[in-house]
């Protein structure tokens, strides 16, 4: 059972990363990116192209991937955010879904449909405690999550740029009025949001194989995690992610592995039935 916990937490950490990327974008521009999963997929494949196809050292492949994802994030912003500013959220949802379709099929064209593997950046014998096996890669996942959380916290709260980002997130219009370079902060949000998902992809690929259609369900799980943790709430997303990872792992083992993907939705629906505005309220309700 302890093994299930470890596996669940590792899986959950990846979900948490997807959610963090999603929330970074949402907190800044109030857009829920339904293509976040496809960004994860791109990260995995760019990493594979670097590390496997071109046999770059894994660390270099990672660096290249993160850079590429940042660029993709900015392109994404240009194609999706700017044209759709001020449009009703429903159309934004459809647009990001459409982008997801575009990215997924471009990936199918470039890399083909077959699953591919990516080696982990860390090697070594797994740790063993009390009958539980923790692989080096799983440790790496926990470590990466911790580092990212720390960096994110430091950046948002201790750097000048981070404070500007928070201001932009709270009130875009006023931020612009007081001279904050709003477009730059939004670009950074998209770049980092894409990078976070890309990192999640690099972490997932060594465990489950990567294939172009992997983005759909992972993206949805990221959203579910955001809902469970309280939309917009970053620590909540982490807790929600870990929680979901555990539920899925235990559910697959004890109830049925066929319905693995359904557990996420069931939990989310249960949360929403109890708190229709989400655990922390949603901004898009009609004010009187």
């Amino acid at each position: 059972m302890g093994q299930l916990v470890v596996n669940g937490l590792a899986l959950g950490s990846i979900y948490a990363l997807v959610a963090l990327g999603l929330l970074l974008i949402f907190n800044t521009v109030q857009i829920v990116n339904f293509a976040q999963g496809q960004l994860l997929m791109l990260g995995a494949f760019i990493g594979i192209t670097g590390a496997v196809t071109h046999e770059l050292p894994v660390a270099v492949a990672w660096a290249v991937t993160m850079l590429a994802m940042a660029l993709i994030g900015v392109v994404f912003m240009v194609l999706v955010y700017f044209p759709l500013r001020g449009r009703p959220p429903f159309l934004v949802i459809l647009t990001t879904i459409a982008m997801g379709i575009v990215l997924e099929n471009l990936a199918l064209i470039i890399w083909g449909p077959l699953p591919v593997s990516l080696p982990s950046p860390v090697h070594g014998a797994p740790l063993r405690f009390f009958g539980v096996v923790i692989s080096m890669h799983q440790l790496f996942i926990f470590g990466t999550l911790a580092v990212i959380l720390l960096l994110q916290f430091l950046m948002l709260n201790k750097t000048r740029f981070g404070i500007l980002m928070q201001a932009t997130a709270q009130d875009l219009h006023t931020a612009r009025l007081v001279g904050i370079p709003v477009n730059r902060t939004i670009a950074v949000a998209f770049a980092f949001g894409a990078m976070l998902s890309g990192i999640a992809g690099l972490l997932v690929a060594p465990i489950f194989l990567a294939e172009p259609t992997m983005g759909g369900s992972l993206g949805l799980k990221g959203f579910v995690v955001s809902v469970i943790g309280g939309f917009g709430n970053l620590p909540g997303a982490v807790i929600g992610g870990l929680f979901l990872g555990l539920i899925e792992t235990f559910g697959a083992r004890y109830i049925s592995s066929n319905f693995r993907d359904a557990y996420a939705f069931i939990v989310m629906i249960a949360v929403l039935v109890a708190w229709p505005r989400g655990l922390f309220g949603e901004k898009s309700s009609e004010k009187v």
């Binding site: 159309l91 949802i93 982008m99 359904a262 229709p276």
Partner: protein, 311 residues
């Protein structure tokens, strides 16, 4: 009423199509387009008029299809299947509709997506009954007291008649207090409530009527195409249906039909493009949303307005 003449011409053209081509493949494609149009008309009630995002419409389509296929293969006379489909689909729409009444936008989208996924997983994994991923073949066809349409062309005319009925009901709803209440709920839920509209009842009703449209279309799909698989009713299909609604023109009855026909025929016509079709499709949807959010139906009226104004 200058709408009557183009409408009559259009009706004649539609009825004459099977005279122009006997290609069974094309007619079957059109039949699928007509069925999709009925489903999109259903989607329009909840999403187009009442403003409730619904990515679960494909699931209702599938429920109707599978109910019919399973029932007829088990020997149930065809005449009972539309009723069975309606019952199942109405129950399902309440299961989805009731918890989602107080949800908005993103949460509503996600919940309906989740519902669709759960239904799909059930269909895929309940192999002994649903045939799993391979689907169900050799589904018995439509048969009412011994009368059965033979061949794609007869099905075509039958489906056109059903579509006409679906349009008639939709028009009647639009021109009644029910239709106005739906649109009012979307435009301003609070003002609608203060004007005496029970918005909860309206949302549920719109959902249910939409689900019934999809369920009946599914029943006909199973009985006329005679082969179904989970792929035809997946989340991707749900997105496709939504884009048919948007591209055609959300809220417009004609738009539903235009969008369904265009986006059913296009992938076949552009089959030579392979995977690139979907890339183009995605970019095309974005282009429509950005440049003509009222869809193709609004393009038509924009052209009409340009011609009308004496500049």
């Amino acid at each position: 009423m200058n709408n009557r003449i183009p409408l009559a011409l259009g009706a004649i053209a539609v009825l004459a199509i099977p005279l122009a081509t006997h290609d069974g493949y094309i007619i079957q494609l059109l039949n699928i387009a007509i069925l999709n149009a009925i489903v999109v008309l259903g989607l329009n009630f909840a999403t187009g008029w009442t403003g409730q995002i619904n990515f679960g419409q494909a699931a209702f389509y599938g429920l109707g299809a599978y109910t019919t296929a399973i029932a007829t293969k088990a020997g149930v006379p065809w005449i009972a299947t539309p009723f069975l489909s309606v019952v199942i689909v109405t129950a399902a729409s309440l299961v989805l509709g009731l918890p989602t009444l107080r949800l908005r936008t993103y949460y509503l989208a996600m919940t309906t997506i989740g519902f669709g996924e759960i239904i799909r997983l059930i269909i895929v994994h309940w192999e002994p009954v649903t045939g799993g991923t391979s689907g169900l073949r050799a589904i018995p066809g439509i048969s009412v007291f011994g009368l059965a349409p033979q061949g794609q062309i007869q099905h075509y005319y039958l489906l056109i008649a059903v579509l006409a009925l679906a349009v008639l009901v939709a028009v009647r709803i639009r021109q009644s207090s029910l239709g106005r209440a739906m649109i009012a709920t979307k435009d301003s839920e609070i003002a609608a409530e203060q004007s005496g509209v029970d918005t909860t009842r309206i949302k549920l009703l719109a959902f249910m009527i939409g689900a019934i449209y999809a369920g009946l279309a599914g029943c006909l799909y199973a009985s006329s195409i005679r082969f179904i698989s989970p792929d035809s009713f997946s989340g991707t299909q749900a997105v496709l249906l939504m884009t048919m609604l948007i591209v055609g023109g959300m809220g417009s009855i004609a738009g539903c039909i235009i969008g369904a026909v265009v986006l059913t025929i296009l992938p076949e016509a552009l089959r030579f493009m392979g995977q690139w079709y979907l890339v183009l499709y995605g970019l095309g949807v974005i282009a429509v949303i950005v440049m003509a959010p009222g869809g193709l139906a609004s393009v038509a009226s924009m052209i009409r307005m340009r011609q009308a104004s004496p500049r």
